[in-house]
């Protein structure tokens, strides 16, 4: 009891290349199409991130993705975004299905942080469980970032989780909010199951009380 393991990649600071997807309501079906949800592992989803937008043919599990024709129109295929670790997005990113395969695919592709106006609730939660930092910023700041990314090849941002800041190349510092508990877990790469199990006695006591009062919930 009480053992708290470090199971996910911690997030402290990042100086990364920024890629931008300029559309609202990007859903998790688009981030990772359903045929890849048939797989039973947690890793290896990166090559199929945005599969339907990214390739010209139809992808299925087990294909050699390196042999597939890329869609030259899709932003992430642009050479200037190769190796990007930060994804700039619009509002309601990650809406739709609860599939955690979406953050798994983003993380496996190489992204460590997202910057956007807003995220869907379940997706937002799922990111934190996988060492992926979703940063919300006001609309005007996001608009300015889009303009700068499009205007500047090799555009990079510095993210510092401890001070909750994003620093632009021109020195402008943008502050973001994050819940203290999530920040603590992410900074230390903590396994939240281990953290929760420190309260095992409380959970057990709660459960016993509930069982006594509403036994039908436990039959």
């Amino acid at each position: 009891m009480g053992q708290v393991r470090v199971t996910m990649q911690a997030f402290t600071q990042l100086d990364g290349l920024v890629a931008a997807i300029d559309r609202a309501n990007v859903d998790t079906d688009a981030i990772i199409p359903k045929q890849f949800l048939k797989l039973i592992q947690r890793s290896g989803f990166g090559p199929n991130l945005f599969d339907e937008w990214r390739y010209l043919d139809h992808g299925e599990p087990g294909m050699d993705n390196s042999q597939r024709p890329l869609n030259p129109q899709f932003v992430l295929n642009a050479p200037r975004y190769r190796g990007a670790q930060i994804l700039l997005t619009r509002e309601n990113f990650g809406c739709g299905s609860s599939r955690e395969h979406a953050p798994w695919a983003l993380e496996d592709y190489g992204f460590r942080a997202l910057i956007g106006t807003s995220y869907a609730d379940i997706f937002f939660n799922n990111c934190f469980k996988n060492g992926l930092l979703p940063i919300p910023l006001p609309q005007a700041e996001i608009d300015a970032l889009f303009a700068q990314v499009f205007a500047t090849e090799g555009y990079r941002l510095k993210i510092d989780l401890d001070s909750q800041t994003v620093t632009r190349p021109d020195g402008e510092v943008l502050r973001f909010d994050i819940e203290p508990f999530r920040k603590h877990c992410l900074l230390n790469g903590l396994d939240d199951i281990g953290l929760t199990l420190r309260h095992a006695d409380k959970i057990r006591a709660f459960e016993d009380g509930r069982r006594a009062e509403q036994p039908w919930l436990f039959s």
């Binding site: 393991r5 300029d22 559309r23 609202a24 309501n25 859903d27 079906d29 688009a30 199409p33 359903k34 045929q35 949800l37 048939k38 797989l39 039973i40 592992q41 947690r42 339907e52 139809h58 599990p61 087990g62 619009r90 509002e91 309601n92 809406c95 739709g96 299905s97 609860s98 599939r99 955690e100 953050p103 807003s118 869907a120 609730d121 379940i122 939660n125 799922n126 469980k129 996988n130 819940e179 203290p180 508990f181 999530r182 396994d191 939240d192 199951i193 929760t196 199990l197 309260h199 095992a200 409380k202 959970i203 709660f206 459960e207 509930r210 509403q214 036994p215 039908w216 919930l217 039959s219």
Partner: protein, 469 residues
């Protein structure tokens, strides 16, 4: 102080709270299916952990399973492995009950929970599936979770969460004949948008909602997530209690009476304060049809495809243009002029017995249009299918030219063989019209069961109100 239903559910399940408000919320019911559970069970095994209370788990295979030729099993080897992995995990860890592939009670996870009485009022319900909001119809705090959270709930019986804001959507007035819960919820999403409910728990109330059956309330809560809200809910009333009575896992005897007394308190107190209130006049609602690639891109059956050049917000305008290009629709096209290739009646939104009855009422004595390539009816569970067959609904559909299938998620997300071909257009009773949702390149229009049935008959969208007058 008067409390909202959400606050009552929340307060009665908080085990522990961190300083920043992050709480450990106790989970009463955990629904499990094959797609989002393998990695969670694997994680549990790797960490050498045991499930906290495996008796809370109700499991079934639904997303990947075929809906025809059940004698041949699951022919896709990747899908089969996933379903067999669930079989093996349940064999190893246990469950309160498991309805495997081909069991008479198998079905869509959100249909079987209520059907079995495994979903009871006042419960916290989770499932690795966003449409878990469905169970909120029973005054449950029911939410979709990711796979890491599935593992967390398996290991600790708790979910880590912060309290949501509350939104009251009050719908009052009588619905016109031919206008259903599906139309109500599509109209709501059209009004508040797909992110309108983000960060909120929605309570649906008002005379229209009280007048809905449990099936209708489930349709409504099912799509709360399409409005961005993780949870939607309806207060307990006599309809709720009568639906639960006599279900296999419902309490009996003295426990039943005690439970009912407890459930009756699951309402928002008069004067309870909500962070946001939305009011809808149900009498004005018409049948809804989505025209784009997000559930908020919706209009009425007598409307037309909107013109993006009239939209002032540039991000929205571009979204509309992209959606129209994907859907191959021109601005100004009348909704009734849109020709369909396929029709799908099914999914956890609209595959319960009442949905099938409503659709059959429209289909009876008519024939599917020759231009329709396929019209599918996929009941939500084995028991729904059996009941429909007892009532002869299967004959009504088959005689009209529909295919009558085995239960499952089917063409709602097309993980099995039921799918649209690229470019095909479908009238669907499911909940998502995202690009590629029903098959790569497929075009989805979300509608009610009666609207889907009418579309199958004429091959175009038609106003089902004209058929039922």
């Amino acid at each position: 102080m008067p409390q909202t239903l959400y606050a009552k559910l929340w307060n009665s399940h908080v085990v522990h709270q961190e300083e920043d408000g992050t709480a450990l919320v106790y989970i009463d019911r955990h629904l499990v299916h094959e797609v989002t559970s393998p990695q969670a069970f694997e994680g549990l095994k790797l960490a050498g952990r045991k499930p906290w209370r495996i008796g809370s788990v109700v499991a079934t295979a639904d997303h990947n399973t075929p809906t025809d030729h059940w004698d041949q099993g699951i022919t896709d080897p990747v899908s089969r492995l996933q379903v067999e992995t669930l079989d093996a995990n349940i064999a190893a860890f246990g469950a309160k009950v498991y309805f495997p592939f081909r069991d008479a009670r198998q079905g869509i996870v959100h249909v079987i929970g209520p059907e079995q009485g495994a979903t009871l009022p006042g419960m916290t319900v989770v499932c690795g599936d966003s449409h878990t909001s469905t169970h909120g119809a029973f005054a449950c705090l029911a939410q979709g979770i990711g796979t890491s959270e599935v593992e967390h709930v398996l290991a600790t019986q708790c979910l880590l969460q912060k309290k949501s804001k509350t939104m009251l959507i009050r719908v009052d007035g009588a619905l016109q004949t031919g206008v259903s819960a599906k139309d109500v919820v599509l109209a709501i999403i059209g009004r508040i948008g797909t992110a309108g409910g983000t960060g909120y728990a929605i309570e649906f109330a008002g005379s229209t909602i009280s007048g809905l059956s449990m099936e209708g309330r489930m349709t409504l809560c099912n799509m709360a997530i399409e409005a961005g809200a993780r949870a939607g809910m309806v207060a307990v009333d006599a309809t709720t209690v009568e639906y639960v009575r006599g279900r296999p896992f419902a309490p009996i005897g003295a426990d039943w009476d005690k439970a009912v007394a407890c459930w009756r308190t699951l309402v928002s107190d008069p004067g309870a304060r909500f962070d946001q209130v939305i009011e809808i006049d149900a009498g004005k609602l018409k049948p809804q049809v989505t025209w784009g690639t997000s559930p908020e891109m919706v209009t009425t059956v007598d409307g037309e495809v909107p013109d993006p050049t009239l939209e002032s917000n540039p991000v929205k305008r571009e979204g509309m243009e992209r959606a129209l290009a994907y859907m191959d629709l021109a601005p100004g096209t009348s909704i009734k002029a849109i020709r369909l290739d396929r029709v799908f009646i099914g999914s956890c939104t609209n595959s319960r017995i009442e949905d099938l009855r409503a659709a059959a009422q429209v289909v009876a004595g008519r024939k599917v249009a020759p231009t329709i390539r396929q019209a599918l009816v996929v009941p939500g569970s084995g028991l729904v299918k059996a009941e429909a067959e007892r009532e002869g609904l299967d004959r009504t559909f088959i005689d009209a030219g529909f295919e009558w299938r085995e239960p499952g998620c089917s063409m709602c997300l097309a993980m099995n063989d039921d799918r649209l071909e690229p470019g095909e257009r479908c009238a669907s009773t499911s909940n998502r019209n995202f690009e590629g949702r029903q098959g790569a390149g497929g075009r989805t229009h979300l509608v009610s069961p009666q609207m889907a049935a009418a579309a199958a008959i004429t091959g175009y969208f038609s106003d089902v109100r004209d058929w039922l007058r």
